[in-house]
Subunit: 118 residues, 2 copies
DNA sequence: AACAATGCATCAGTTTCTTATGTATTATTG
DNA sequence: CAATAATACATAAGAAACTGATGCATTGTT
């Protein structure tokens, strides 16, 4: 199933921030491919959505950029700065709580045994 | 926390369809209050979003309506027809799978013990 | 009497996407 | 080796789904 795209709305920034929190630097095309691969093609980020989002995050002062050349082809690597790391945690927490709320609201709960990390 | 609204986008129809699947009939204002109550004020559906959504679901042929008067004040009750019931299941399943995918992607998993319903 | 809550509705404006288009380089394949 | 696919950036028109404001009327509360 490829999700009807309206569900994705609002989650793109969070996805990008999370990936950048887990990887010290990534470039745009890499992000689209990583998401596709991690979700078994269920979530496909379009470039028309991604690049403006990266520019917006940069304009918000959350990212630093670094250009690298692969032969003659350019790659623009993005990294989180300190604000970006903080924002990433906030956005992931917010989405986690949203998911929890929706799970309850839609009665999707399974019996859960929480095992604390050691 | 009241969720930054962009997360809600795309989930409203599903929420409405789910509530109507669980309750034989509901009216608009009742839906807003039920969601508010069920989520501890975390999700607040605005009337500007809800009424157009109800009209859209009706136009898609998923709902039947029934007007009732409380004194001089009108209430418009909505119910799912057969198509609506089917669509409700589809949308809830889709959102459930989306949530599962996002949970994995954002690394939000907890150790889970699934207990089958009796 | 004033205000809050109940109950419907519409609409301009905003945000966030999709889809199309553009440009260029590099790898693959018949 | 020519055509096509993949890699890699970017922008922009239009669509979708909201928010927030506004409007109207009735009923409950202080």
């Amino acid at each position: 199933m490829i999700f009807s795209t309206e569900l994705l709305k609002g989650t793109l920034k969070t996805i990008v921030l999370k990936l950048l929190a887990d990887n010290s630097k990534m470039y745009g095309y890499e992000i689209t491919q990583r998401v596709k691969e991690l979700t078994g093609d269920k979530i496909q980020i379009t470039e028309g959505a991604l690049y403006p989002t990266l520019h917006a995050l940069e304009a918000e002062g959350l990212l630093t950029t670094e250009v690298e050349y692969m032969g003659k082809r350019v790659r623009k690597y993005y990294s989180l700065n300190e604000s970006g790391k903080a924002r990433s945690k906030e956005k992931v927490s917010e989405l986690a709580e949203f998911i929890e709320t929706m799970t309850f609201l839609l009665d999707l709960k399974k019996k859960t045994l929480n095992v604390l990390p050691q």
